[in-house]
């Protein structure tokens, strides 16, 4: 333990409004499942010392289903996600990514909101949420605003999130039953692994052509990103004759991978393209 306990503060606001007031007064930063924060604290590298335990705020909990979308509380743990039938029915990529997050003890504790707000480029649910076109509901003492998730991450650990705001809920629109969902994470090992890279793809097929394609990428840019260049090349194209080479080429413009402790830029870029290739082969196979 390298953190300095005596300097730390952790308080529990009694209500959402109290929490928001405290946030606004800079009394502390949000602390949810702690699975990111405690690691940094243990390593003695946590810069902030004052935290607000938001883990029991009811407004940020629960999963609600409407005909159009699923509304997930920011405090939903991966285990709660995996226990909900609607997730399995409509969002197979979220199932895969939640299952691939850490191992059971992490899934029991880590939250979706924390996964998003921690803003790690290597987080696993964000590429899926990008591909599903999710929206975030942000609350602050000033009120509530809804932002498209694709505009939330703006750079390395830079978010469209004010100091007095909390991620309250995540809304994920349902896709038609004929959609194709692809998600794959490549980690350092088969469980309890942080992603070296990941790719989530969702597409609908209309008249033998790709429609409504979205691709989310993990760990190949300063934040989770949409692969807009590749999407642009593929959107509307016939499944029977996908412009594979052009798409893979375009994907290069969507990435800015680096060499780091987990992998190399070259591996990240090559294998991300390989995953897109695999996803597209899956896609054409469903079209045939």
């Amino acid at each position: 333990m390298r953190g300095f306990l005596p300097a730390m503060e952790l308080q529990r606001p009694a209500s959402l409004s109290e929490a928001l007031q405290m946030l606004a007064a800079h009394t502390g930063r949000p602390f949810a499942g702690g699975t990111d924060l405690m690691v940094v604290y243990n390593a003695g590298k946590l810069r902030e010392t004052r935290f607000l335990d938001i883990a029991r705020l009811p407004e940020l909990q629960g999963i609600r289903e409407t005909p159009e979308y699923l509304d997930l509380g920011a405090l939903c743990t991966f285990t709660e996600l995996l226990a909900h039938p609607a997730i399995h029915r409509h969002f197979p990529n979220l199932v895969k990514s939640a299952k691939a997050t850490g191992a059971l003890a992490i899934q029991n504790r880590g939250t979706l909101g924390g996964n998003i707000a921690n803003a790690s480029p290597a987080a696993d649910t964000p590429p899926c949420l990008l591909a599903y076109g999710a929206e975030l509901e942000l609350v602050s003492p000033r009120g509530t605003r809804v932002v498209p998730y694709e505009s939330f991450h703006q750079g390395y650990k830079v978010m469209d999130l004010a100091a007095d705001e909390l991620v309250a809920r995540i809304r994920v629109p349902k896709y038609s039953d004929t959609s194709v969902h692809y998600f794959r994470k490549v980690g350092t090992r088969q469980a309890q692994a942080i992603a070296k890279l990941s790719l989530a793809l969702v597409a609908q097929v209309a008249d033998g052509c790709i429609a409504n394609l979205r691709i989310g990428l993990g760990a190949v840019a300063p934040a989770p990103v949409r692969a807009r260049h590749a999407e642009g090349v593929l959107q509307g194209q016939p499944l029977a004759d996908l412009p594979m080479v052009a798409a893979l080429e375009a994907l290069l413009a969507d990435m800015s991978p680096i060499d780091d402790i987990r992998s190399t830029a070259h591996y990240r870029s090559t294998v991300t393209r390989n995953l897109l290739g695999q996803a597209l082969r899956t896609l054409s196979a469903t079209g045939n």
Partner: protein, 746 residues
């Protein structure tokens, strides 16, 4: 008793969580110790600065200037200081410089960060190439920590005349032992009318190594130092030499502060500072005749030994002695060198040099087969050592060795032939995931190398307990391998008692004789044999005194022991190691019997390589070995399975990343050891061929399983997606992708 799967003696406490490891022992008035370390590879220590905001007066601070005795850790070469002193040379990053103690762990950590070391930088040597080139002389006159040559016949003429000459270069990386319990030591210092006494308890493999280190550090007589090995949460060689250093640190703090002091490394410190498997590189040149018979081998084997000699001489020795593998070869030249670099010294890790050199030769054999258009099974079959053959050192195989039988058994278990055919067809049809089979045949020398055992002259014994039961006296330590249980089984068998009547005394230097360190796969074979001999003498003594008559019940035995105690107050028997007369070894020429015997094995595996991600999945693994007599099949299987898992990690994933001489991936999140999801069921087969060196015919088996997985896996990967230049472990997906692209580029 021998041959039965007795339940692990200390197992119940372990599953209950009741076992006290070093960090769990409650200690009245405990202070905690911390270490301030260098952050540069090389330089002169000019100053130590204690920063603001810390109540320094509450702390105990120890520097080299405080050391009462020798500031050198007693080892093979006493070259490593406990602490670097002002004006002295810092030889590697993470080198201990200042020690701190305080009762409050949080303040202690804050204080550790507040100490600044002023180090005047010197140019450093960070890899084997730089060391060989002697860019800087950092050690002795040539940067060599140790050099060994083994010669048999004359390979030189063969390079011209042989039908095939195949050369290859191979590399292996550093590997962290990653015992789950980090390094931990507890020290007490007491002064009475006879002077200072130091007591050490801790997670340590070799109580008598620590004992020697502390006696030297404080310049104390032997009986003023007492070292006890507590139950260990794994060690694998990683707690062989490094605990001597930590024990010295904890003892200095305890002595200066007047309080008991515990030092527990956190995972990051443990990863960054403590020993690893030596990185290696090997060049092999081999000559074969037209029928695939090996004619000559020339091996250049190099280890990165870090900044001090520590265990490098003996690791190099074992690596060199295994470099020619399990093959008959008339002309052999092996050149081994351990090179100094300004990096934290590597040390002992299961296998001890052998996994490095055996990776090279077993990978090389497959490559030779490829080049010669031969089946790797057949090539090996033509060259295996047999009864009467001599190895590179001239050691003659005196046992009825059947390596071909061992290999065939492993291949049958794996279903090698059928899989081979099936995978060939399937890989061609669906190249996204390609499967391959591979295997390696190898050995491990049991016990210390060469004259090591003779020099040690270990002693083990038996002691009568007041209730009439018997206690085993040996310094060997329990780190999960099952020594408590196996020793009890051996003694019980020789005494003719059920196992409940035998206890195993704590590994406490004030109570047990020096049976040597718990290393080198020697505990069961060498120490076990001494225990067997001592047990025979124990029983004999009772019979001769007329206190016991055969056949006897356990109760009669107990009564006899109590009668013996009543008569003479105490009753102990001891046995000491003597080299068998036929075993000859010459340290200077490296000729003779390097080991009393070897264990032999063939490991076979089938893997799936995903060519989308270049991840390798191990889908089946079969470990077939001949280990003499198996004393406890369940424990023995556990040893093999655990070793194989570490070997798989070594072969595929575990990579120590260095920057400027420092390990940078010092967390479990970025140093990936296998989880349950990464491993197949590991299938184990024992073939028994009892050997007289060990109790009941047992040989040592602890390290063997580390030697085979890496080459077997890479051979299988090569089958799946090769031929590729698979010359290095760990063969991470990143490397495999690079190798595949190399071929694609042509």
């Amino acid at each position: 008793m021998i041959g039965q799967s007795a339940i692990r003696k200390e197992g119940r406490a372990k599953v209950l969580g009741a076992t006290q490891y070093t960090a769990d022992v409650p200690v009245e008035g405990l202070w905690r110790g911390a270490t301030v370390r260098s952050d540069v590879p090389r330089g002169i220590l000019r100053g130590i600065h204690f920063g603001e905001g810390i109540p320094w007066s509450e702390f105990t601070v120890v520097t080299a200037a405080d050391i009462p005795g020798k500031n050198r850790v007693a080892s093979i070469v006493a070259d490593q200081p406990f602490l670097v002193g002002i004006g002295e040379e810092v030889m590697h990053p993470e080198q201990p410089v200042v020690l701190l103690a305080h009762p409050d762990r949080y303040l202690l950590e804050a204080a550790r960060k507040a100490v600044r070391l002023e180090i005047e930088p010197l140019p450093s040597v960070l890899d084997m190439d730089a060391s060989l080139r002697q860019d800087e002389l950092i050690y002795g006159k040539d940067n060599l920590l140790k050099e060994i040559r083994i010669a048999k016949g004359d390979p030189a003429p063969m390079w011209e005349t042989a039908a095939f000459v195949v050369e290859g270069d191979y590399r292996t990386g550093a590997q962290e032992q990653l015992y789950l319990e980090t390094q931990a030591i507890l020290a007490f210092a007491d002064t009475d009318e006879n002077g200072l006494r130091i007591t050490i308890q801790g997670s340590l493999q070799c109580p008598y190594y620590v004992h020697g280190a502390i006696a030297g550090l404080f310049d104390l007589p032997a009986d003023h130092v007492r070292v006890t090995a507590l139950e260990m949460g794994g060690a694998f060689g990683g707690k062989e030499d490094y605990p001597s250093l930590i024990a010295g640190h904890a003892a200095l703090l305890a002595w200066k502060s007047g309080h008991p002091v515990r030092i527990v490394y956190d995972r990051e410190e443990d990863m960054a500072a403590t020993t690893k498997r030596h990185p290696s590189r090997t060049h092999i040149k081999s000559a074969f005749d037209a029928n695939g018979h090996l004619l000559a081998l020339d091996v250049d084997f190099q280890l990165d030994g870090g900044a001090y000699a520590t265990m490098s001489p003996v690791v190099l020795s074992r690596g060199t002695l295994h470099a020619a593998g399990v093959y008959r070869c008339p002309h052999v030249a092996i050149h081994g060198r351990a090179l100094a670099t300004n990096t934290p010294p590597p040390g002992a890790f299961r296998g001890f040099g052998a996994p490095q050199s055996l990776f090279a030769i077993e990978r090389h054999m497959d490559i030779c087969a490829q080049r010669m258009g031969m089946d790797p099974v057949e090539l090996r079959r033509r060259n295996f050592l047999c009864l009467g053959d001599s190895m590179a050192t001239g050691q003659v195989i005196r046992e009825d060795l059947d390596l071909a039988g061992l290999m065939d058994r492993a291949l049958v278990e794996l279903d090698y032939d059928a899989k081979r055919k099936r995978f060939q067809t399937e890989n061609a049809a669906s190249p996204e995931v390609c499967r391959g089979v591979g295997f390696a045949v190898f050995m491990h020398g049991c016990g210390f190398t060469g004259s090591g055992e003779a020099k040690l002259a270990s002693v083990a014994g038996l002691e009568a307990l007041p209730d009439g039961r018997v206690s085993v006296l040996a310094a060997s330590t329990e780190m999960g391998q099952g020594k408590h249980t196996v020793f009890a089984q051996v003694a019980a068998e020789a005494l003719g008692l059920p196992i409940e009547f035998v206890e195993v005394a704590p590994s406490d230097t004030s109570r047990v004789p020096n049976s040597g360190p718990t290393v080198a796969s020697r505990s069961t074979m060498v120490v076990g044999k001494l225990i067997q001999d001592a047990a025979v003498a124990f029983r004999q003594g009772l019979l001769q005194q007329g206190l016991l008559h055969e056949p006897f019940t356990p109760e009669a035995f107990q009564a006899a022991v109590r009668a013996m105690l009543a008569r003479s107050g105490s009753y102990k028997t001891y046995a000491q190691y003597h080299t068998p007369p036929q075993q000859k070894w010459d340290d200077t020429s490296y000729q003779g019997d390097a080991y009393p015997t070897f264990t032999w094995a063939c490991y076979a595996t089938h893997v799936a390589v995903d060519t989308v991600t270049w991840e390798v999945a191990v889908e089946d693994f079969v470990a077939v070995q001949e280990v003499g007599r198996v004393i406890n099949p369940t424990l023995a299987k556990g040893q093999i399975q655990g070793g194989v898992a570490q070997g798989i990690g070594f072969g595929l994933w575990e990579e120590v990343r260095m920057q400027n001489g420092r390990m940078v991936n010092t967390q479990l999140t970025n140093y990936a050891i296998p989880t349950l999801a990464d491993l197949p069921e590991i299938r184990v087969v024992f073939l028994e061929n009892p050997h007289p060196a060990g109790p009941g015919g047992a040989k040592g088996l602890g390290e063997l399983p580390m030697n085979g997985p890496a080459p077997a896996l890479l051979n299988a990967v090569d089958f799946a997606v090769g031929p590729l230049r698979l010359d290095e472990v760990p063969m991470t997906p990143e490397r495999l992708l690079d190798r595949a692209e190399e071929v694609a580029r042509g």
